[in-house]
């Protein structure tokens, strides 16, 4: 089979060991608390790579850290004020075991950070990244990437992509950098046969049938576009939302940020950017206190409209990737799945 390869599971760790010599390796690691998190791996032999559970974090924090220094400044006197760029070279990094939802989220972040103005920090980290995907044979309980069309399998956007076929992975590439890895380490890869590709397709068909959540995404998108979402839905959601920002922080496609100064001495400081959430009441509040958006009532509405209405209008697809993390984290029960299904059950 042209351009499709096999990697025996026994060869995975030896391959990663080789790759780790060239790249900083980031992969889902099960920690001592039992959490699985994308983690930069220091010593491969001392960690347990976990490809069975969904990582609790996405790749967002690696390309767009929760807080980062944009530059430093000093003003020894009123008549001097200097700005020094922070040169923080991101090492070439290989992200391993990236599921289709998280891969789709990176492709969405590319649009946010690189389409018009090019964000220098993001661009640098992205240019130095290799994405090795992992198709999802077994979607998790809160997953709904089948309706956001970002999984359970994906066929673009990765450098390399693995599909678990039991004792081996089927390996595909979508970018020349992925092909280079196969060429450089060909001792680990064997050409795939027709049976392997059939097995991959079979896995895809089975995975597609395994989703347990019923999410009427298209219907909600249509209702939002037509202005048919009943006011009672917004009222109930805003009443129940605890304004914790958890959904936005955990979301792989929520990229709103704030910029602020941190004074480090009498005459110096750092200009920082930090994650922000459009559900927060201060998000649109202007100097002097005027707020053009009633955040109490409309904060959560803005978030859902952005993902399911405005981004659909602009890019023809929602910017929710169906990873289900907000479903797991929201203790107010106002996650996006609840919203979608409320919208479709209530009569307008």
């Amino acid at each position: 089979m042209k351009d499709k390869y096999l990697l025996k599971k026994d060869h995975l760790l030896p391959l990663l060991r080789k790759l780790k010599k060239t790249y900083r390796l980031i992969a889902p690691v099960r920690n001592t608390h039992g959490d699985t998190l994308f983690t930069a791996i220091d010593r491969l032999d001392e960690v347990r790579i976990d490809l069975d559970k969904q990582p609790q974090n996405s790749l967002k924090q690696f390309f767009f850290p929760q807080q980062e220094v944009l530059f430093t400044y000093d003003n020894p006197a009123g008549d001097s004020y200097h700005f020094q760029p922070v040169v923080e070279e991101s090492p070439p990094s290989l992200y391993f075991g990236v599921r289709p939802c998280d891969l789709s989220a990176v492709l969405y972040m590319d649009v946010v950070f690189l389409k018009d103005a090019k964000d220098p920090s993001y661009l640098q980290k992205r240019q130095n990244s290799i994405l090795v995907g992992l198709n999802c044979n077994d979607p998790f309980a809160s997953c709904f990437c089948n309706v956001t069309r970002s999984g359970p399998f994906i066929d673009f956007g990765f450098d390399l992509q693995l599909t678990d076929l039991g004792d081996r992975f089927l390996v595909e590439f979508d970018r020349s950098r992925g092909q280079e890895i196969i060429t450089s380490w060909q001792q680990f890869f064997a050409p795939a046969g027709e049976a392997d590709v059939k097995a991959q397709y079979q896995s895809f068909l089975e995975a597609r049938g395994k989703f347990s959540l019923q999410v009427h995404l298209d219907q909600a998108v249509r209702k939002l576009a037509l202005g048919e979402v009943p006011e009672s839905v917004w009222e109930e959601l805003s009443m129940r939302c605890q304004d914790c920002g958890g959904c936005a922080y955990i979301c792989p496609t929520c990229t709103c940020f704030t910029i602020h100064d941190l004074q480090t001495s009498d005459h110096a400081g750092e200009r920082l950017r930090s994650w922000d959430a459009c559900t927060f009441s201060g998000f649109t509040r202007m100097a002097g206190g005027h707020n053009p958006v009633d955040r109490q009532m409309r904060g959560i509405e803005k978030r859902f409209r952005h993902k399911l209405q405005f981004d659909v209008k602009k890019d023809n697809r929602p910017s929710c990737v169906g990873c289900g993390r907000c479903v797991n984290i929201c203790f107010g029960g106002t996650d996006i799945v609840r919203f979608i299904n409320m919208t479709c059950c209530e009569n307008s």
Partner: protein, 281 residues
């Protein structure tokens, strides 16, 4: 002249050449970049804004109130509203701030040429319109210009030198009103919409440019609609909380538009497609 990628968020130091106290709340800062070569290359268009940095206070978007002249000082008229603007009000000639920009979609200057122009402003709202008016006059705009300006009290009237000079220009009529008179005030008292009633306007051949508090905008829009102005001939500039200024951070969103990138200048026709507080009340 937006920054290159690597210094997207990096301001450049600019020195305060002059501070003009417009009223107790508004000061106009005349600034120029310390890098003389950059200052000479720097250009902007009326309606655009700059991100202003003040030590330890972060950044705020301020629209330019001057007329783009090669190498000329950049005027930023700043109302004391929050922490950054209060700190800026404490700054003197010779002090240094950071500037980056200009950003945003400017007023459609080419469309304004050859049309009667109506400017309606309230308070600090005259700042961005001042840039348009002086640019039009410098370009020899020959058609009628009507300027209506509302302030809270006579001592709140800003840009007095400009108002005087506009009042003395042949094709310009400049009318002022205040919400509350003070001893010695001989002029109008009342809403800026009352001034509108005194004006001779030919809506088919005019453009109206508004900037001011939302309540004023709503009242003026209603009056202009009554007078037969088409939505595409009514232009305003929006104010929103902003952080990046370059269309990434999303603080200034209005539905699917971003004020920093798609605005801040919008026609009423464009705004009617959006759920905008200024129009909805």
């Amino acid at each position: 002249m937006p920054s290159q990628s690597k210094d997207l968020y990096l301001p450049r130091p600019a020195e305060i050449r002059e501070v003009i106290e417009e009223n107790s709340q508004i000061k106009t800062f005349a600034l120029s970049f310390i890098d003389r070569e950059y200052q000479d290359r720097f250009s902007y268009a009326p309606g655009q804004f700059l991100m202003v940095s003040v030590p330890h206070c972060g950044e705020a978007p301020i629209s330019v109130s001057s007329t783009p002249v090669s190498g000329g000082a950049i005027h930023l008229s700043v109302r004391r509203a929050g922490r950054l603007t209060a700190a800026m009000h404490g700054m003197r000639k010779g002090d240094v701030v950071g500037l980056r920009g200009p950003y945003g979609r400017p007023f459609p200057m080419a469309e304004l040429a050859g049309r009667d122009l109506l400017f309606v402003a309230g308070g600090i709202g005259l700042a961005p319109l001042r840039s348009v008016i002086n640019t039009c006059l410098a370009a020899g705009h020959g058609r009628r210009i009507t300027i209506l300006y509302g302030s809270r009290t006579p001592s709140d009237i800003a840009f007095k030198a400009d108002l005087t000079s506009w009042g003395e220009t042949a094709n310009v009529s400049c009318l002022l009103t205040v919400d509350r008179a003070e001893p010695g005030w001989q002029g109008e008292v009342g809403l800026v919409t009352a001034l509108l009633a005194q004006c001779r306007l030919e809506p088919d051949d005019a453009k109206a440019l508004l900037c001011g508090p939302p309540m004023m905008i709503r009242a003026v829009l209603a009056e202009l609609a009554e007078r037969g102005f088409a939505d595409e001939d009514i232009i305003t500039t929006m104010e929103r909380h902003m952080k990046c200024g370059v269309g990434i951070c999303r603080h200034c969103h209005m539905d699917d538009k971003l004020v920093c990138r798609d605005g801040p200048v919008f026609t009423l026709q464009e705004l009617k497609q959006l759920k905008v507080m200024e129009l909805l009340g």
